[in-house]
């Protein structure tokens, strides 16, 4: 389980990227908890997309939980 910040965008994307990378290395399943998240941007979306492809190759799994309806709409626009 990885708690995601209120807002993930290009300004703090590096730290999100690094945390996700670490998490994916040590866990076989990463659950992104978006309970507190109100907004993500394209950079965050593409990190998640890219991580999911990587997880598939490693036979691991990344899933998303706790997304509000607004977040769900945004995620689907981002292809997630």
């Amino acid at each position: 389980m990885m708690k995601v910040e209120t807002e993930v965008n290009v300004k703090n994307i590096r730290s999100f990227y690094t945390s996700l990378k670490n998490e994916l290395e040590k866990e076989s399943e990463v659950i992104l908890d978006l309970t507190d998240t109100v907004r993500i941007d394209s950079s965050a979306a593409q990190v998640i997309i890219s991580a999911m492809s990587r997880a598939a190759v490693l036979n691991k799994k990344i899933s998303i939980t706790g997304a509000s309806p607004e977040m769900k709409a945004l995620l689907s626009l981002a292809g997630l």
């Binding site: 965008n9 290009v10 997309i49 492809s53 990587r54 626009l77 292809g79």
Partner: protein
């Protein structure tokens, strides 16, 4: 802080700027090439303009805009600083002070401003050109009415540049704004450009989107969403409304994959599908199995999709058959006979005893329904798109425009609109003639167009669409419109109207369609040989259509052709005169009335007239026209059908009204009549032949007597 607050801030700012300006201008007069001072003064005027605009001081805004332009020329060295310039500028500042700070605003301030503006304009080399924005005439007459319903479909492809984040722009936000304009039909994020997770630079953008959406907004509105990214990124917006509407009717043109069917049904989304396909390639499983295994769809859903896929395959196998079109015509004729047979059975049912009649009628009604459907099917076979007819004009316009030394673009809309095959065959010539006219007389030469502030190239819009059971074809040009004065002079010289006759615009426009009328000063290669718009009109009336013209001098002309969906069947009103039954096309009928004795009279030169809703209209006796007998000879005893032809109302005297029904027309080509009053015949249920009246033709024939 309220609005008053902003004004106060603005006035304080002005006081400061004006003080600085006065001192800088005086210095400039001594040191007239000091670039620092010049730049500073320019900025003051610029700021003054911006602030007055924001604060709502429109007069000052416009005035300082001129000052800014003037000083821009000083800054660029185009105008040298001299006493005159300084005088104008200082006087202008005095005016601004007066306008902003004097208590009542002096009554002469308008005159002062006008004088100053004139003086400034001398230097700017412009004259006061405050042309009234002409009301967009073509828009006003509905020339740009959208085709069909208001729902439009757009395909949007957006590929963003890698460093877009460095402009503070988030593409996802742009897509979010876009999605707010309508309903997303399909959305695919292209993930191929996103690098492997390990190599990803998270501060660069690799996202791109393919979106199809449904919206009631136009392309401009969609484009506006991309305003700040349009130039530097690959944004492609395509209006696919027509494609989409067509593909909805015949959705299975090509073989479909199971995945696509599931996406269409909304069971899985495009991105999931992509992943599944990748998995399928890796592991060599069947897609259906993977979907069920992943829990994305139930086995039942997959089975349904598979059987749908089967059906589609079968559909494709029998897609088209070529048939001789005369076979279609024969089919239509036979159907006509069936309709007649049914009508006669209905009559039989009227005569037999009640219980049996009831059963017979019930059977007949269901037969009627099938026949109607049958008829619609045959008609749909006869329908062909107008596209190819339109396309052939592209070359024609290009060559014709070239010969005339004009630049003209042809714009086509509604190429998929379907018309009866016969109509398509006959509409080509009239259309060509109208386009010729637009090229010849409508659209001006480039130099002339530029002078009147239009784009150098003219545009002809060809547009077809369905509306209220009719087909419309619009020919719209943005040329100079009809010269109605000239039309009038010509009409007078041809003796069509009297010089002193008061004549409305509408009437003048219709004169153009009269036989032998052509306003071309000089006959050109193309048109103006005497074969004019009258031929166009006759051709279209033969197709039971009508022509309407809207024109505005200097702005353009719209010619709207209205055509029936099919020529084989009309809605007709059956009327009786003596023992004869006649059919009046329902399209022309306005109402049926009875007239009182006082409202009927005979007028010298106009014949018999009746008073209908305040207007006297001509009365026609069909019995005299066709040499048949009538029961009633007095108009106040008979019934009067009011019909319309070319915007003119006419009363037709009849004995009785029988009813209205769909009439299958039998052409009279090989028959007796040369009368223009008759357009065809139909066989009635009791075997009698009824003639179909051609209202336009009848009116013409009576006028020519």
């Amino acid at each position: 802080m309220g609005e008053g607050g902003l004004t106060e801030v603005f006035l304080n700012e002005c006081t400061e700027i004006i003080g600085n300006l006065e001192s800088d201008l005086v210095t400039l007069e001594e040191k007239n090439d000091d670039q620092d001072i010049i730049n500073r003064i320019f900025r003051y005027f610029h700021t003054l303009k911006g602030s007055s605009g924001i604060a709502g001081f429109t007069v000052i805004y416009e005035f300082t805009h001129n000052l800014e332009s003037l000083f821009d020329k000083v800054r660029s060295g185009e105008i040298l600083v001299n006493r005159d310039i300084i005088d104008i500028l200082l006087d202008s500042i005095d005016y601004i002070k007066d306008e902003l700070f004097s208590d009542s605003g002096s009554p002469e301030s308008d005159t002062i401003r006008k004088d100053l503006t004139d003086r400034i304009n001398v230097f700017l080399g412009t004259t006061d050109k405050k042309e009234e924005e002409p009301e967009d005439f073509l828009k006003a007459v509905g020339a740009y009415k959208s085709v069909g319903s208001n729902e439009r479909y757009f395909k949007i492809a957006a590929v963003f540049k890698e460093d877009i984040f460095n402009n503070g722009i988030d593409p996802l936000m742009v897509i979010e704004d876009l999605s707010g304009l309508g309903k997303i039909i399909s959305l695919t994020v292209d993930k191929k450009r996103i690098p492997d997770f390990e190599k990803l630079d998270p501060e660069k953008c690799y996202m791109s989107w393919d979106i199809v959406m449904k919206t009631r907004f136009d392309e401009m509105k969609l484009r506006d969403v991309f305003l700040f990214v349009y130039d530097d990124n690959e944004i492609d917006i395509e209006n696919v409304t027509e494609k989409y509407n067509v593909s909805k009717e015949t959705p299975y043109i090509a073989e479909k994959k199971l995945g696509e069917i599931l996406v269409e049904k909304g069971i899985i989304n495009n991105n999931e599908l992509e992943d599944l396909v990748r998995m399928q390639n890796d592991k060599n499983f069947r897609l259906g199995d993977i979907i069920v295994q992943k829990g994305l769809a139930s086995p039942k859903q997959v089975d349904e999709a598979l059987s749908e896929q089967d059906k589609i395959k079968k559909k494709i196998e029998i897609s088209t058959v070529r048939v001789d079109s005369t076979k279609l015509d024969n089919l239509m004729n036979l159907l006509g006979e069936i309709v007649i047979g049914q009508a006669s059975l209905h009559r039989v049912a009227d005569d037999i005893e009640e219980e049996k009649a009831f059963r017979l009628k019930n059977s007949l009604y269901s037969l009627d329904r099938v026949t109607r459907e049958f008829q619609e099917q045959i008609m749909s076979i006869r329908m062909v798109p107008i596209g190819p007819t339109f396309e052939q004009f592209k070359r024609f316009v290009r060559d014709a425009a070239h010969n005339m030394g004009k630049e003209i673009k042809l714009h086509i809309e509604g190429a998929d609109t379907e018309l009866d095959k016969t109509v398509i065959e006959k509409i080509g010539d009239p259309l060509k003639h109208m386009i010729r006219n637009a090229i010849d007389h409508g659209i001006e030469r480039s130099d002339e167009r530029r002078k009147s502030g239009k784009p150098a190239h003219g545009t002809i819009n060809l547009k077809a669409y369905h509306q209220e059971g009719n087909v419309y074809i619009d020919v719209i040009d943005d040329g100079k419109g009809f010269d109605l004065e000239k039309v009038k002079r010509k009409a007078v010289s041809l003796g069509m109207i009297q010089p002193e006759e008061e004549i409305t615009r509408e009437k003048l426009v219709t004169i153009v369609f009269s036989p032998g009328f052509s306003t071309a000063e000089q006959a050109s290669d193309l048109s103006g040989r005497g074969v004019g718009m009258d031929v166009v009109k006759t051709n279209i009336e033969e197709l039971r259509g009508s022509v309407e013209v809207k024109t505005k001098e200097g702005e353009g002309t719209l010619i709207r052709i209205k055509l029936p969906l099919t020529l084989a069947i009309i809605e007709g009103m059956l009327v009786r005169i003596g023992r004869s039954v006649l059919i009046i096309p329902l399209l022309s009928v306005i109402e049926t009335i009875q007239v009182s004795r006082e409202n009927y009279k005979t007028v010298e030169g106009k014949g018999e007239v009746i008073l209908v809703r305040g207007d006297y209209i001509s009365l026609i006796r069909l019995n005299e026209l066709f040499g048949i007998e009538a029961n009633f000879t007095n108009p106040w005893e008979a019934l009067i059908v009011i019909v319309e032809s070319d915007g003119e109302r006419i009363g037709i005297m009849i004995d009785d009204l029988i009813g209205q029904q769909q009439i299958v027309i039998k052409s009279l080509d090989n028959f007796i009549t040369t009368s223009r009053s008759i357009s065809g015949a139909s066989i009635l249920g009791d075997g009698r032949v009824a003639l179909i009246i051609d209202i336009h033709g009848m009116v013409e024939e009576i006028k020519n007597r």
